[in-house]
């Protein structure tokens, strides 16, 4: 009950401190590992989950005013990534695993993800790996609903 109250209160007493600071920005990367093998047998390297398109035309942006489910799911995954660093929970791990796995072709490999945070140090943008998940069988995640 206390947990539910702690989730509800910020919605009726919001802080409204939008973009107070530009915090380190999360990206989710994943790789597939052959079953029973070490991470050295990853199929390909780390790849970004749902990389954004190079260009979007104005009409595509306007279309997304009405219909933008994938991008909103991606924003939710970024929230899960931030929560996983601030207050680690199995819920965040499961949400990321399931939603990354949903967009992958079915396979016998194991799925592993990592959280990379981008931030600015002086004039340079630096990339820091903050979390690496335990590999889990892809088929097992894909069997269940999100």
């Amino acid at each position: 009950m206390l947990r539910l109250i702690s989730l509800f209160l910020p919605t009726v007493i919001p802080s409204w401190r939008f973009f107070n600071t530009v915090a380190p920005s999360p990206r989710i990367e994943f790789r597939l590992i052959e079953p029973g093998q070490s991470a050295a047998h990853a199929v390909g390297g780390w790849q970004e989950d749902r990389p954004r398109p190079q260009h979007l035309r104005l009409w595509q942006m306007l279309q997304r005013m009405l219909w933008n489910p994938q991008w909103n799911e991606q924003l939710y995954l970024f929230s899960c990534a931030e929560r996983l660093i601030e207050a680690p929970s199995q819920h965040s791990i499961d949400e990321i695993n399931q939603r990354v796995a949903r967009l992958l072709p079915q396979g016998a490999q194991e799925l592993q993800f990592r959280l990379v945070f981008l931030s600015r140090e002086g004039v340079r943008v630096v990339k820091l790996v903050e979390y690496e998940s335990r590999p889990v069988p892809l088929a097992q995640i894909q069997e269940g609903p999100i």
Binding site: W16, S25, P53, R64, N72, P145, I146
Partner: protein, 239 residues
């Protein structure tokens, strides 16, 4: 002339609630359809979103008195639990805030308490702009324009890689950053005049539209619009 008369017009509490419920029905239905479209959605989530769609129909057609609002509030609470927080950050928070205030307005035993619930929403809407401007103006990175450059350069929000190129347009971003800060800070002054308020709300909607185009925050646009009738009523009631 008729345009000016329209801009000067206020809303009664009942009218404001009616408009808010109509907008809210659209915004929540849009959110729910997006969830259902993802595919592979668990049965318990499908039940939640289909129920939300049905309640939105009741809300849009004014059926069931306060029940559709109370039902959507209950489902909003269930979603907070399901996602262990808001699914879509500030837009989900605003959805719950509006539903909470409308729920209380429907439960209110007297007109006074109904007006208190709507006033709370109106003040929170004002604060959503003013506090955002206040925290930015005290941040040297926002004042110099480097914060907005960082948003485009490496934040997760720009919807395409090409938009990251805007980070190099320093003068443009400095002007835009200050335009946003000043607009957010002076927004409460628009309460002093009904025409100024409507124009300020139009400007704010344009601000949310640009955020939706650049950063994909479409749900913010629709849900902030839902709260505007409360502020139009509040201005008319107080000034």
């Amino acid at each position: 002339m008729s345009g000016i008369l329209f801009l000067e017009q206020g809303l009664t509490a009942a009218q404001a609630m009616g408009w808010m419920q109509l907008f809210l029905a659209f915004a929540i239905a849009q959110q729910s359809l997006e969830h259902l479209a993802l595919g592979g959605v668990a049965l318990r989530d499908r039940v939640t979103f289909v129920s939300r769609l049905l309640l939105c129909l009741g809300l849009a057609f004014g059926l069931g008195g306060g029940w559709p609002v109370w039902g959507l509030w209950g489902l909003g609470l269930a979603m907070l639990w399901r996602y262990q927080g808001p699914y879509n950050g500030g837009s989900d928070k605003m959805t719950m805030l509006i539903l909470s205030c409308l729920s209380l307005a429907h439960l209110a035993p007297t007109v006074f308490w109904q007006e208190m619930a709507l006033s709370y929403l109106a003040v929170q809407l004002l604060l959503s702009y003013f506090v955002s401007g206040w925290v930015k103006v005290f941040n040297p990175e926002w004042r110099s324009g480097s914060a907005l450059r960082d948003v485009f350069r490496f934040s997760a929000y720009p919807v395409s890689e090409a938009l990251r190129g805007l980070a190099e347009r320093r003068r443009f971003l400095w002007i835009m950053g200050w335009a946003v800060i000043l607009f957010e800070l002076v927004f409460p002054l628009a309460l002093l005049n009904p025409i100024a308020l409507k124009l300020a709300l139009l400007g704010a909607a344009g601000f949310h539209l640009s955020n939706a185009c650049f950063f994909g925050l479409n749900r913010f646009f629709w849900i902030w619009l839902c709260a505007y009738p409360a502020l139009i009523w509040f201005q008319d009631r107080i000034f």
